[in-house]
């Protein structure tokens, strides 16, 4: 099944649920009309939270840059001996 079909089915199910809430008046009507808005805002907040948390916990590796420089020096030394031109570009 294509992904967009899954997403559409999910949205249709949510809409059906929302309409049924409107019909049966389980909640006060004014509240029910605002539910989609609450949903979208919550989704947005969740997204922002995920971005923020991810940013805080973003894995970094400064030591890798140092190791890379060592590797580069080692490589240049070896390659020069083998007749490969490793002058900087």
């Amino acid at each position: 099944m294509k992904h967009i079909v899954k997403i559409t089915a999910l949205l249709v199910a949510l809409s059906a649920f929302w309409i049924s809430l409107l019909q049966t008046s389980v909640l006060p009507e004014t509240q029910t009309w605002l539910l989609p808005l609450y949903f979208i805002v919550s989704l947005g907040c969740y997204g922002l939270l995920m971005v923020g948390v991810g940013l805080m916990l973003f894995p970094t590796c400064p030591h890798e840059a140092i190791l890379l420089q060592e590797d580069i020096a080692e490589a240049k030394g070896f390659l020069k001996g083998k007749g490969v031109d490793v002058g900087s570009d």
Binding site: V51, F58, P59, C61, V86, D89
Partner: protein
């Protein structure tokens, strides 16, 4: 039936103006893949800086059987570079990686090990989990990366943590299957590959990798990437 399978790994490295980096990468691949049967396929798009000359020198140093130079006349894009390299690959596994040293060959053994342990069709490197990481990104870059990732995860449910990464090991048959159905360009192409593979039900595993942003040469990223990215996301949302 006991069958000792000899695995061969074809490493496709697309290059454009990577005169120094290609030599360093080749050295590091040989250093970290001792006792592994592999070949390096350099797909150079007519670099004006003499990258192909350096590759020929490397062939003298390491042997022409292990280093294949399969150039193209000009810049023709990443996707077609992989397809071109694939035509000349004689291994049963294919590794794709960047030539600019942001992908370090020292992770190649961990890709191979993961594949052997799990029998996965694809092993993809991820920068975003513990054990992985990036260096040389400022706050803005990290923010856009993280934002892009959250958006992609929410919309696409891809099943991998790093969508735009291009350090991957594929079973050759799987790569051939997936690449034939991809039409995007640039890094959206990388996203399309992994999302299509996920949709097709291929077994995908991840290994952490570290990504040190380009050391030598100029980065080929620029311009209105955000627009391209969003367009790519919508395209993948609707067509996969």
């Amino acid at each position: 039936m006991e069958e000792k399978e000899e695995n061969k790994y074809s490493i496709i490295v697309p290059t454009y103006n990577e005169r120094l980096n290609i030599a360093l990468i080749v050295y590091l691949i040989f250093k970290h893949l001792q006792n592994v049967n592999f070949e390096i396929i350099v797909v150079d798009d007519g670099s004006p800086d003499g990258t192909q000359e350096i590759v020929k020198q490397l062939q003298q140093a390491y042997g022409e059987a292990c280093i294949l130079l399969r150039p193209r006349p000009k810049k023709l894009g990443l996707g077609t570079a992989y397809m071109h390299g694939l035509k000349h690959a004689t291994g049963n596994f294919v590794v794709i990686m960047d030539a600019d040293l942001s992908h370090h060959p020292k992770y190649l053994p961990s890709f191979i090990k993961k594949q052997r342990e799990t029998g996965a069709s694809i092993v993809t490197g991820t920068r975003y989990v513990k054990g992985g990481g990036v260096h040389g990104w400022n706050l803005m870059r990290k923010l856009t990366s993280r934002g892009a990732n959250v958006l992609a995860q929410t919309l696409l449910w891809p099943g991998v943590s790093d969508l735009t990464g291009s350090f991957r090991l594929y079973k050759k048959s799987v790569l051939e299957d997936v690449i034939s159905s991809c039409v995007s360009k640039g890094y959206v192409f990388q996203m399309e590959m992994i999302v299509r593979a996920s949709r097709k039900g291929y077994h995908i595993e991840e290994v952490p990798i570290t990504f040190v942003d380009r050391v030598y040469g100029s980065s080929k990223l620029g311009g209105s990437e955000i627009v391209e990215y969003l367009k790519g996301l919508v395209y993948l949302l609707v067509t996969t």
